[in-house]
């Protein structure tokens, strides 16, 4: 009698699947799980409590110090904190800016990264490799440095302004605008997207592309029916990570954005410390958390899809 269950894979090969409980496996998985539970999970629960007006226990000090705190008036809490944020004239402007910058920057980043990756896959060669390597440089520049560099580049005495004034053209001062935030976030997000998508495309077998070319498929046909579907998961991963990263970014919008509206990544610490309204800042954090979760659903869906296709589930 076999001790392990036997499953049949798609290729009709019999592989033994051991479902034995392993202490070693548990011990190895435990540290990250514990760290996530203690330092992320529990604080999220405490913050959720504060957003619903639970002002006792671990929230006692913050509720004592903070202003405009709405304490709970039902057993489950209160929605007054959420109401006060939704009634705040700043909030929807901030949310609109956050979502629009996220959308615009993500689309631009993915399109540019795709272009770069496809060029490298189809044409290849030394130049393409050099270009891809160069495009990764921003990955190694700390964000605060790049934010300051972009600020000095586009501000009132910046390079663009100086250059254009040589020809008598008044180049607009871009700092303190949403365009500057978009430029900054694209600059910082591009390398990761290129890395992800280009490695996804590199793994497509030459045989597929060459046979399509032999059959007379056009360039766009190859990109559309072979390359993008086969690199689908890396593209989705790059998209979701870029979008979530931009949505919660602080440094770039802090250096380059206008005072109002501000991206939520800047507005949340403003509310928390400068305005001393911790409850409202936590509520905003949950709104952005919700938006990021919607993006994350794509990621999960794409992973499930690829897992199904390869027969893992």
């Amino acid at each position: 009698m076999p001790t392990s269950k036997e499953v049949t894979s798609q290729e009709n090969l019999v592989v033994p699947k051991t479902a034995r409980f392993s202490w070693l496996g548990l011990v190895m998985a435990l540290p990250p799980v514990l760290v996530i539970t203690c330092f992320v999970g529990i604080p999220i629960l405490i913050a959720a409590g504060l957003s619903l007006g639970f002002t006792g226990g671990p929230n006692r000090v913050i509720a004592l110090i903070g202003q405009e705190i709405h304490p709970k008036n039902h057993w489950w809490g209160t929605l007054d904190g959420y109401k006060s944020v939704f009634k705040d004239p700043r909030f929807f402007g901030d949310l609109k800016l956050t979502l629009s910058v996220t959308l615009v920057s993500t689309v631009v980043v993915i399109v540019m990264a795709l272009g770069m990756a496809i060029y490298r896959r189809i044409r290849g060669g030394k130049l393409a490799t050099v270009l891809v390597s160069l495009s990764l440089v921003p990955l190694f520049v700390p964000v605060v440095i790049s934010a300051f560099a972009i600020k000095t580049f586009y501000d009132g005495t910046g390079f663009m302004k100086t250059l254009f004034s040589q020809f008598g053209i008044d180049f607009p001062t871009l700092t303190m605008t949403s365009s500057a935030i978009a430029i900054g976030t694209i600059w910082t997000s591009l390398p990761f997207a290129i890395l992800m998508i280009s490695s996804g495309l590199q793994s497509i077998p030459d045989a597929l592309i060459e046979s399509a070319q032999d059959a007379g498929a056009s360039f766009f046909r190859i990109v559309h029916t072979i390359m993008i579907p086969l690199a689908f998961v890396p593209i989705i991963i790059a998209t979701t990570f870029t979008a979530i990263g931009i949505m919660g970014s602080f440094t770039i919008p802090y250096f380059l954005g206008a005072n109002q509206p501000a991206m939520l990544g800047v507005e949340i610490p403003n509310f928390f410390s400068s305005y001393n309204r911790p409850q409202q800042s936590v509520v905003m954090a949950f709104v952005i958390f919700g938006a990021a979760s919607l993006v994350a659903i794509f990621y999960v869906w794409a992973n499930l899809r690829s897992a199904k296709q390869s027969g893992r589930i």
Partner: protein, 377 residues
């Protein structure tokens, strides 16, 4: 296995030895004052490079341990720690605090209240300042002044009304930073708001939380909104913080801006600000300024030692250092008590005449309201 056990035992023994050693040290004749600084690096320098070495010359029996928290990044945790130590009666690890949280602690009744009995030198500090501290001890001050580029501005405006008129006559050449980002812009905003308020309401906002008095801000917001078209950028945007204002001034992009007295003086001294930049105080009303407070948490273990340091900081010798050192601060004792040459450098600044900022609660509300009312409107 046995070898391993010995190793662990040796480790435990050595840790215990080190721990007992340090405990022994703490209980020796030397008393340790654990100073917690929640401020910018210029304040860290003031303590570590200037005040503490000088204090130790006359008080060799005291050791000052400094914990530095840049710009109060951990203020919330520090507050929580002190509050918790009060509740549990356990040591919070802090004997003396220099930072913005001192006033919050004072209002919450978590500070040891010093008086002239325990801290004799308090008698030289104006009583109003001591009272406002609610337990915090004022030990230096700074105020907001106007800085101008003397190359382009020959007759800088002397009153607030003149400043507003100047800004409108010279579009793009004046600015102030967002109040949430730094005290210099905050002071300008408060001064404009105050100029349109009855004197009693200004007093109220400086001393108690009052939504009624805040209602009077609407006129001031209108004045500030009218500047949107004439401040730097001319599109209703403002520099993010004190440093950004100084940057615009140094690059010659603006000719007039409110700045902190100590920051501008240090910048000119260090050469990061061109020599053409000069600064002065305006009147009717003046820009606000105020003292920085030291606080001794009421649960502090070494409060007697902390009191000795506080008392020393209020002596003319220490106050001289605050004024003449790299900080360029304002003394909290009368300039007549200082070294005459030092006193001459601050003859135009008197701590007693500084216009006080709002109480923290109103100040937070002002910063929050400015963001709704002014930028981009």
């Amino acid at each position: 296995m046995k070898f391993k056990f010995y190793k662990i035992a040796a480790l435990v023994a050595s840790v215990a030895l080190i721990a007992s050693g340090s405990m022994y040290q703490a209980s020796a004749a030397t008393q340790t004052i654990r100073l917690y600084i929640s401020a910018d690096t210029n304040i860290q320098d003031l303590w570590v490079k200037t005040l503490i070495p000088e204090f130790n010359k006359t008080n060799p029996d005291y050791k000052v341990d400094v914990t530095f928290d840049r710009n109060g990044a951990n203020d919330a945790q520090t507050l929580a720690k002190i509050l918790a130590s009060k509740g549990t009666g356990r040591d919070s690890g802090i004997d003396l605090i220099d930072g913005g949280i001192v006033t919050t602690l004072g209002k919450a009744g978590l500070l040891y209240r010093s008086n002239t009995g325990s801290t004799p030198n308090l008698k030289d500090v104006p009583y109003a300042l001591v009272k406002n501290g609610s337990g915090g001890i004022p030990y230096r001050a700074s105020t907001v002044l106007l800085a101008y580029n003397s190359k382009n501005v020959k007759n800088p405006p002397k009153t607030l009304a003149d400043v507003l008129a100047w800004a409108k006559a010279n579009p793009g050449k004046f600015t102030y930073n967002a109040p949430a980002g730094g005290g210099s812009g905050r002071s300008f905003v408060q001064t404009v708001l105050d100029s349109a308020l009855p004197k009693t309401d200004v007093k109220t906002l400086q001393t108690v939380a009052s939504k009624e008095a805040q209602a009077g801000w609407s006129k001031g917001w209108e004045i500030l909104r009218s500047l949107n078209k004439v401040t730097y950028g001319q599109n209703g945007t403002y520099p993010t913080n004190n440093a950004a204002t100084l940057d615009l001034l140094a690059k010659g992009l603006v000719d007039l801006a409110p700045v902190w007295s100590d920051q501008i003086a240090s910048a000119i001294k260090a050469g990061t600000m061109p020599k053409d930049i000069k600064y002065y105080g305006i009147t009717t009303p003046a820009l606000t300024g105020g003292p920085a407070y030291l606080g001794i948490p009421s649960a502090s273990k070494n409060r007697d030692a902390a009191r000795v340091l506080v008392n020393w900081v209020l002596t003319p010798a220490a106050q001289n250092l605050i004024v003449s050192g790299s900080l360029n601060g304002i003394p909290v004792i009368a300039p007549a008590k200082l070294d005459p040459t030092v006193a001459a450098s601050i003859s135009s600044l008197d701590i007693a005449s500084l216009r006080a900022p709002y109480l923290a609660v109103n100040d937070f509300d002002m910063k929050a309201a400015w963001a709704i009312e002014v930028p981009g409107k």
